[in-house]
Symmetry: C2
């Protein structure tokens, strides 16, 4: 196995996402090179103020203040633009491409406004500009639309794509508190900028919709044609009234194919409470895509934040590295990791599994049975979260007892069941169903 030279990247901007990217590349260096087949090295970074403290270590990279030092450095293969803004960022990206470097960016405004030009320059130079992180943070919606749904005629793309507005609206909905208060809270928690107008006026969502609609329908990027309305007009009164009718109010980015027309619009919307999008809360994002073959699919995850956005930035870097490195006919390893990097499974017996448990017992005689059951579980260190006897007490009708335990080892539950079943007052086999705890929001 030939060991290849690392791929050198230069990062422009070490703010939240830039620092997150440096940290992620360092923390998961092994897992990432098992997948990419090559080590990824942050050779240099350019920042506005080199003296400012950073949320990442900068000891192993060259830190400078001139982005063009990186775009012009012949040893750098990939420029990662994470500075934001349109004018200087555009100049940097064009220069990097002209110098033969692939580009990864998280900059939605740049792509929405200057994408047509940037992609033309990239094509002329045979280079990739990757921008997964520009829309919906850690959700791979660009990849899904460009590749996963490539067989479909896309009919609709409807998304909650701005974390700030969703945080404010779902906060107003949960607490009944007014817009201004929730906006202040969002600022305090770092979910809204000091000047939040790009988010709350819908411009950020419109940038993202511009990108999504272009790759969904095969139309050039056309930011000027998106209808944009923000959330500043939404009152807690309207949220409450909408709730009475069975709706939640969400700020949506909507692209719909209607016959040969395409509607592009960003505005608040009532949606039925039972719809998946109605239950996307806080800074989470979700995009509903309707394709003529796949039908509706929903793509949900954190829409912003250092690590989720860095997740997509690094995925784009890995994409570029895989393209540069592997057999072009076999760009992505079949099992995601390079074949020589697969590690053996270290499994374990089911007895070592830890979950909570639902147990159902049928008790013939209730008198002492609860005490017996509690004793048997307690002796094995199994603690009970709740216990309910179903139906009325009567010594000759068996009564179900339902128990939810706290998390415990399967082996403990398994050894307690025969003892429970041997109690004279227990009439049937004990029913055991595991109870899984799962995150659906970041901790």
């Amino acid at each position: 196995m030939k060991v290849m030279e690392p791929v050198n990247i230069g990062i422009i901007g070490l703010g939240t996402v830039g620092a997150g990217t440096v940290n992620l590349l360092e923390r998961n260096a092994n897992e990432i090179s098992r997948r990419a087949g090559r080590h990824i090295k942050v050779k240099g970074a350019a920042v506005r103020d080199a003296a400012r403290p950073r949320a990442c270590s900068t000891s192993s990279l060259e830190l400078g203040t001139d982005p063009f030092e990186l775009t012009d450095d012949p040893t750098i293969d990939v420029i990662v633009e994470l500075m934001g803004g349109e004018t200087l960022a555009r100049e940097i990206v064009i220069r990097a491409l002209t110098n033969g470097k692939h580009v990864v960016t998280a900059n939605k405004a740049l792509i929405a406004v200057h994408g047509n030009e940037i992609f033309r320059v990239a094509r002329e130079n045979g280079l990739v500009v990757a921008f997964e992180a520009a829309v919906a943070g850690g959700v791979s919606i660009i990849k899904v639309l460009r590749e996963g749904l490539a067989g479909n005629c896309i009919e609709q793309v409807i998304g909650i794509v701005n974390g700030t507005t969703n945080y404010i609206l779902s906060g107003m909905s949960k607490s009944g508190r007014p817009f201004d208060e929730k906006l202040d809270e969002a600022k305090r928690l770092g979910y809204a900028e000091a000047d939040p107008s790009f988010d709350i006026d819908g411009v950020d969502a419109a940038h993202k919709l511009t990108i999504l609609s272009s790759i969904a329908f095969g139309i050039p990027l056309d930011f000027a044609n998106v209808y944009v309305e923000g959330i500043t007009g939404i009152t807690s009164q309207d949220i409450a009234y909408a709730g009475d009718f069975g709706y939640r109010i969400k700020h949506l980015a909507i692209a719909k194919r209607i016959d040969s027309r395409i509607e592009l619009r960003v505005h608040p919307c009532l949606i039925p409470v039972e719809h998946l999008l109605a239950n996307v809360d806080g800074v989470m994002n979700a995009i509903l895509v309707v394709g003529d073959a796949a039908g509706p699919t929903v793509h949900y995850g954190a829409g912003a934040g250092a690590e989720p956005t860095a997740s997509s930035v690094v995925a784009d870097i890995v994409d570029v590295v895989r393209t540069l490195t592997t057999d072009p006919e076999n760009r992505v390893p079949h099992l995601a990791f390079q074949p020589h990097s697969l590690s053996p499974l270290r499994g374990g017996p089911m007895g070592d599994v830890e979950t909570a448990y639902y147990l159902r017992l049928l008790a013939l005689d209730q008198a002492g049975v609860l005490a017996d059951v509690a004793r048997i579980l307690g002796q094995r260190g199994i603690s009970i979260e709740s216990i309910r006897q179903r139906g009325t007490s009567s010594s000759d009708t068996p009564v179900p007892i339902v128990i939810i335990t706290h998390r415990t080892l399967e082996s403990r539950i398994e050894s307690s069941i025969p003892e429970l079943e041997s109690l004279p007052s227990i009439a049937q086999k004990v029913v055991k169903i595991r109870l899984e705890s799962m995150a659906s929001h970041p901790e």
Copy 2:
């Protein structure tokens, strides 16, 4: 622009998914070649019984009964294996690879059991074996795990990946009816096989978990190490009791990294009703992935069916075609479609948009106001779905009136608002929020 020869594919098996693939490639031929940069032609198909009627047209392809005629045909570039089963399918795939053909398959059993061998042969021949359709139908979960989350250390993959069991369990939950009845219903609707044991005993989910865990954690495919439990032991009583505690019962495929161990298990589970996975109903699938950087992401869509599965089969074919065709450094066009294929946006004015509407008015005097409001809306053909007056009636306290309209044109609403506001009894500007109807299940 050089026009390239079409890519020729051979399809083994024209059952539900095979016929769906032929139909999809034909129906979306233009949209697909705009993306892939090349036309995709189904040159031939092999079936067991050539006389059997098919759910697709076979007039433009060579229909035979010998799959090896296709694997050995030098004019065919890609073999698409959609026959199912392990033994013959394995032989066909190995033969195709040995003959230098890329392979696309929807066969989870084949990959879970023989994948290690198949991928080795593919690598030796520099070929792709693509299998997005093997897990969760139209959901691009393979692509998301292999590429979209490539920067993450994956911690958990938890999925509802079997449509049959989910149809039965969510049906039992909604109706309170017993397992057997829902299983019969699933059979009648074509959601369960005549012999449903692979689905209801959890084997199908275990095949899919084997694949997902391998690409999530970088371990070889290891079907034998998955703990498997089906849903035949779940009673409507347990579903009801779990509901009382705030849980739903779902059949989950679970892969969890616990320190250096990896748990692989398939079994029924209680999950909190408010969790996104608890609200995945019928034959829909959803996979929760927790990465250390991206956090939790959820990927939701139809888990089976002709068109959703064909969507992933065609996406895989497009992947292969893009690899064969485009500049290897720029495999996927930046905007998903080939640059010369972008079509101009045909947008339209907001007045042409059709949605339902939420309107809030503040009425000073209720006496005749409802009649006036209804008349103004009615004159423009806007029909009212519901109308509510908030608070108590009193001539000097303004009372909010909230209206939900049926779908109508924005231009009609816009022209009615000034007239509503000019009513002497209306005290404030009218608040208008759009109400979007969106599918989240297939029609």
